[in-house]
């Protein structure tokens, strides 16, 4: 059976170029980059070369980059690190209702520790209101954390505008760019962000590595205290193979971004159009334009998402409902519910997130198999009876 992977926002395959780059650092160059002898020199060099490659993707300086083990670590480091560094100045944090759990649960934790958190609403397109953001800022506000692009809908937030507001009001600004990095250009010189989080396994590097941009002069309380690594900002022997992989993946992303974007957009447009034409009673979620080139989030009325996914899986198609973190259907997607979509409809949503290796043939296959699956599930649904 064909295997078709439409779940790149959950994780990406490791591309061959990255795999090839990593192998030497598992086989021969396994030394500790802190060692001064022969075993440490190759890894040390590789570490710094990888750093420069990641910096190119974000347009920052090597000293402004800290390697992490995941997007979640990055978000924790950024948010707790900024909040604690500024806690003498205030205890108010602003974020949105549609952040990833890495951000939401970190904020929830901070509210137990005495911070006040404002969760901004989003409109039916999944967008925040900049006026509401401005109004939410109080003299006690120390941190704004708003994601660059949403993992479920692909909606892209106005990061530059938010950064300008944050700067004007003297508030630190973190953005979770885990879903944006590698998919859309990010230039921190052009954005007033203080801290920005990325994760390797969302851009064709392996799991277990990520990075944090921390603007020169911005102070964070470390999350992981320990040795002198990363200039005393993050302890622990560096994950050299992971870091090398992230470097390579960023290099490839810089090189191929324009081409990929065109490719992904074409596939996504065909996918949305094809499904729209063939399946009645659907809704495409998220802002029509301000969206990642690769993400299509579609609600299918009267049916439940997981059962659609299982059916797709039986055809070899991998997609996901809500966030990949919610394996199970206990809660409707907080993102879609925040956009004003009913619980029932949220439960019937499927996210198709495309990637490098997807082809138009794969999209056509999906468009072919989707209608009978939806039809069959609807025929079993007590909610559909009255409609037909």
């Amino acid at each position: 059976m064909n295997k078709i992977y439409f779940d790149h926002n959950a994780t990406t395959p490791i591309i061959d170029e990255v795999f090839e780059a990593v192998v030497p650092y598992l086989k021969d160059q396994w030394g500790n980059p802190s060692s001064i002898h022969w075993a440490g020199r190759g890894p040390k060099k590789a570490l710094e070369e990888a750093r420069e490659k990641v910096c190119k993707l974000l347009n920052c300086a090597p000293l402004e980059l800290i390697f992490t083990c995941s997007g979640t670590e990055g978000a924790n480091h950024a948010i707790k690190g900024l909040a604690y560094a500024k806690k003498d100045r205030g205890n108010h944090i602003i974020t949105t209702k549609v952040e990833h759990p890495a951000v939401l649960n970190t904020c929830k934790h901070l509210s137990k520790e005495g911070f006040d958190v404002t969760y901004l609403d989003v409109d039916p397109d999944g967008m925040i209101d900049l006026e509401e953001l401005k109004k939410s800022i109080t003299p006690k506000t120390v941190l704004i954390t708003v994601m660059f692009a949403n993992n479920e809908t692909g909606v892209i937030f106005p990061i530059k505008e938010i950064g300008d507001i944050a700067k004007e009001r003297g508030v630190a600004f973190h953005t979770d760019a885990v879903q944006a990095a590698g998919k859309v250009p990010i230039d921190v010189q052009d954005l007033n962000v203080d801290v920005l989080t990325i994760s390797g396994h969302k851009l064709y590097a392996p799991k277990g590595v990520g990075a944090l941009f921390v603007r020169r002069g911005v102070r964070l309380v470390p999350l992981i205290h320990g040795g002198h690594q990363e200039r005393n900002r993050r302890g622990g022997t560096e994950n050299v193979p992971g870091i090398v992989a992230l470097g390579k993946a960023c290099e490839v992303a810089v090189r191929d971004m324009d081409k990929e974007t065109a490719h992904l957009k074409a596939l996504k447009e065909r996918l949305e159009k094809g499904i729209s034409e063939k399946v009645p009673h659907i809704k495409i979620n998220g802002h029509p334009d301000k969206r990642l080139p690769n993400t299509a989030n579609i609600s299918f009325e009267f049916v439940e998402g997981e059962s659609l996914l299982l059916n797709l899986d039986m055809k070899g198609i991998a997609a996901s409902s809500g966030s990949a973190c919610t394996s199970g259907s206990l809660e409707p997607s907080h993102v879609l519910v925040s956009m004003g979509i009913t619980h029932e409809l949220s439960h019937g949503s499927v996210r198709f997130s495309l990637g490098k290796s997807n082809t138009m043939e794969e999209v056509e296959y999906l468009i072919e198999v989707m209608p009978p699956i939806v039809e069959r599930m609807r025929s079993m649904s007590p909610l559909y009876a009255g409609i037909k």
Binding site: G328, S329, L330, M380, P382, L383
Partner: protein, 123 residues
């Protein structure tokens, strides 16, 4: 995640549909969980002679619905009464822990349908 039995009942669900002149109807569900089940039963001489379901829900919800119809078809009411959500889960070789509570309501739907039948009889 799911057992083979669950996947079998999910992909080839038994007794899908609605009985037109049902003796009893049970609808249960929890919109927060995204599961709604509707069971219709036909009862003759205190025996369940036919049963059908319609379900909006995840794999577990559909499989448990299908399984419960198989379990009760042809059973005496008194026996059907003894079927619990646990019985259904076991008949499916178990369900993932997250699914045990929310998506395992088929027996509840059955009891609601029997209740409905009894109420109607009472009239």
């Amino acid at each position: 995640m799911y057992s083979e039995k669950v996947m079998d009942h999910f992909s080839n669900p038994r007794n899908v549909g609605e009985i037109e002149d049902a003796s009893g109807t049970g609808t249960v569900g929890n919109p927060a969980c995204g599961d709604i089940m509707k069971l219709t039963i036909k009862i003759e001489n205190d025996k369940i002679t036919d049963v059908k379901f319609k379900t909006f829900g995840c794999g577990a919800a559909i499989a448990t619905s299908s399984m419960v119809t198989e379990l009760v078809k042809g059973k005496e009411l008194s026996e059907a009464d003894k079927i619990s959500n646990q019985t259904v889960a076991e008949a499916l070789d178990g369900l993932p822990p997250v699914k045990m509570h929310c998506s395992n309501l088929a027996a509840d739907a059955l009891h609601a349908a029997i209740e409905d039948y009894k109420k109607k009889q009472g009239k």
